[in-house]
């Protein structure tokens, strides 16, 4: 099952400059793993060494923040859009 993953500007350099890429998987984590096989540098930005999503990275499956679902284990039952948004913060 193919999904579209939308990337923020800052991460596009790791995906050949593309604003969105495709990935396969039946969970969000599987989609990220598939992405990581093709774009290892991108995967290192999306996942901490322990395999979790960094605090300042927000991931939405269609319109839902996966933090309020099952995180990377959130199942995907149909072709979907996954949006990666960096936290916007400052001081």
């Amino acid at each position: 099952m193919m999904h579209t993953i939308r990337l923020p500007t800052i991460l596009r350099v790791h995906a050949g400059g593309d604003a969105s890429v495709t990935a396969c998987g039946s969970t969000v984590g599987e989609a990220f793993s598939d992405l990581g096989r093709r774009y290892p540098a991108l995967a290192s930005q999306l996942l901490d060494p322990d395999g979790s999503v960094p605090v300042f990275v927000n991931v939405f499956l269609n319109d839902e923040d996966i933090r309020y679902l099952k995180g990377l284990d959130t199942p995907i039952s149909q072709p979907s859009e996954i949006t990666v948004l960096p936290s916007v913060a400052g001081g």
């Binding site: 923020p8 500007t9 949006t83 948004l85 960096p86 936290s87 916007v88 913060a89 400052g90 001081g91």
Partner: protein
């Protein structure tokens, strides 16, 4: 997108939203996002929640960020910038602002509240840790 513009026009509703949100959130920092056309013309300011609830830091609520992005895209716009207030320091990016700037093409607008009766609004680009001020022009009655 802002590189080609000698002056960035800030429509009166955008200006008013930023100022009012800064005042409403005081003494905490206010924050929000700016939408516009792909060529950089500003169309709307989204006043959003600072989930840090701090006078010295801000973090935009991620769900509201996503909602603003969806709303902007539904209108043919995109997110082109961010604004936040400095409650006790000038309208100039702090070292934290520079360190956490994640969108090199965005306009970063600062609302300085050192003088509550005369707020200062200035715009910058932050790219590769380099700050460049952008000239903002405001509608005459704003």
């Amino acid at each position: 997108m802002f590189d080609e513009q000698s002056s960035i026009r800030v429509p009166e509703p955008v200006h008013r939203t930023m100022i009012n949100h800064a005042r409403d959130c005081y003494p905490e920092e206010a924050c929000g996002l700016l939408a516009g056309y792909p060529d950089g013309r500003l169309t709307k300011a989204y006043a959003l929640t600072n989930i840090a609830h701090s006078p010295v830091n801000y973090v935009i609520d991620p769900s509201e960020h996503f909602g603003a992005m969806r709303d902007a895209e539904s209108r043919g716009w995109e997110l082109v910038g961010v604004f936040h207030s400095h409650t006790h320091s000038p309208a100039y990016p702090s070292s934290t602002d520079v360190a956490l700037a994640v969108e090199p093409d965005w306009l970063y607008v600062l609302v300085g509240m050192e003088r509550i009766d005369a707020l200062s609004v200035r715009g910058f680009s932050i790219r590769d840790c380099r700050i460049t001020e952008k000239t903002l022009s405001f509608d005459a009655h704003s």
